[in-house]
Amino acid sequence: MEMEEEKSGSLSIVSLIGRIDGLVAPEVEQRLSSIIDRGDTHVVLDCGRMSYISSAGLRAVLASARKCQQAGGKLSLCALQPSCKTVLEISGFLTIISSYDTRDAAVSAES
């Protein structure tokens, strides 16, 4: 798993790359927590290169979205691959976390 971060105006765009499972979910949550703690509370998770997400990965995303909201910001998702999108849909995540088809759409809507 890798994470890449870049800025687009006030948005922090974090790319999740590879498998987000129980082995890496604590690190994902910790790194997102550091980003939010430094004041970057508007975060877009670019999931275009995320190949898998397990229940531990879902918890890490939920905890981070909660932390963003508590800090007055928002966490959104974009570019979900079909298999990951299905998991997020089945679990009802997309009813509480905004998701966009592309990174451009997310940046445009959340900026």
């Binding site: 879902l58 918890r59 995540f93």
Partner: protein, 219 residues
């Protein structure tokens, strides 16, 4: 912090007389099995997806109740999905989980174990609450999450899945509150994949019981 099994048992108790509230048929065993899996998942010992449940770290947690189940999953051959493990634990371990969780609550000073006889012969054990703060806090967390639109904590989401599966929401909420919270309950009950499987297992057993009742011969 209480384990999921301790917290759900506490919520299942009638505060006043220390007996267990009526719950859905067979639900308690499934819920306790799911509670242990949730504790192992939150301790980063297991992980799940829609197809399988895997051990990612077999290091003991220090809690005998959890470690017994962890050891069993780690030592099993082949892979099973979450539902299969819930059913296996339900069949083999839930009485032990229940008694260890209650013993832990007694040891923490939250409950008192009181043995009584009725009709001079039959023994029964009740668990009156002697320190209501823990239970009040658990109820407040559940109601707080269900009556707000905020993004919930993953632990609270998992707990709501268990509470809903054993059908005790009516003991925490008034009828009007449940009606108001219904869309939120529907939204959150699926959000933890293990909680989702517990709810599915309970629903399935209830369907089987209903079908058996419908097709039973009438005399």
């Amino acid at each position: 912090m209480l384990t999921f099994a301790e917290e759900i048992l506490l919520l299942m108790l009638d505060d006043e007389d220390g007996t267990f509230l009526p719950t859905r048929t067979s639900a308690v065993e499934y819920v306790l099995a799911g509670a242990v899996l949730l504790d192992l998942a939150f301790a980063n010992r297991i992980d799940t997806d829609e197809r399988q449940l895997l051990v990612i770290d077999s290091t003991p947690t220090g809690n005998p109740m959890l470690d017994r189940v962890l050891e069993r999953i780690a030592g099993s051959s082949g892979t099973r999905d979450t539902r299969a493990w819930i059913e296996k634990i339900t069949g083999e371990d839930t009485e032990e989980i229940r008694s260890q969780a209650l013993a832990s609550l007694v040891k923490r000073g939250v409950l008192e174990a009181r043995d009584e006889k009725f009709l001079w012969v039959f023994r029964s054990r009740r668990y009156p609450v002697i320190d209501g703060r823990v239970e009040r806090e658990a109820k407040l967390r559940v109601t707080g999450v269900l009556l707000s639109d905020d993004i919930p904590d993953p632990r609270d989401v998992a707990m709501i899945g268990l509470v809903d599966a054993c059908g005790i929401l009516s003991e925490i909420f008034s009828g009007r509150e449940i009606e108001r919270a219904a869309p939120r309950i529907e939204q959150l009950r699926k959000m933890d994949l293990i909680g989702q499987e517990v709810g599915g297992a309970v629903a399935e057993i209830e369907r089987s019981i209903m079908m058996a009742a419908v097709h039973a011969p009438h005399y």
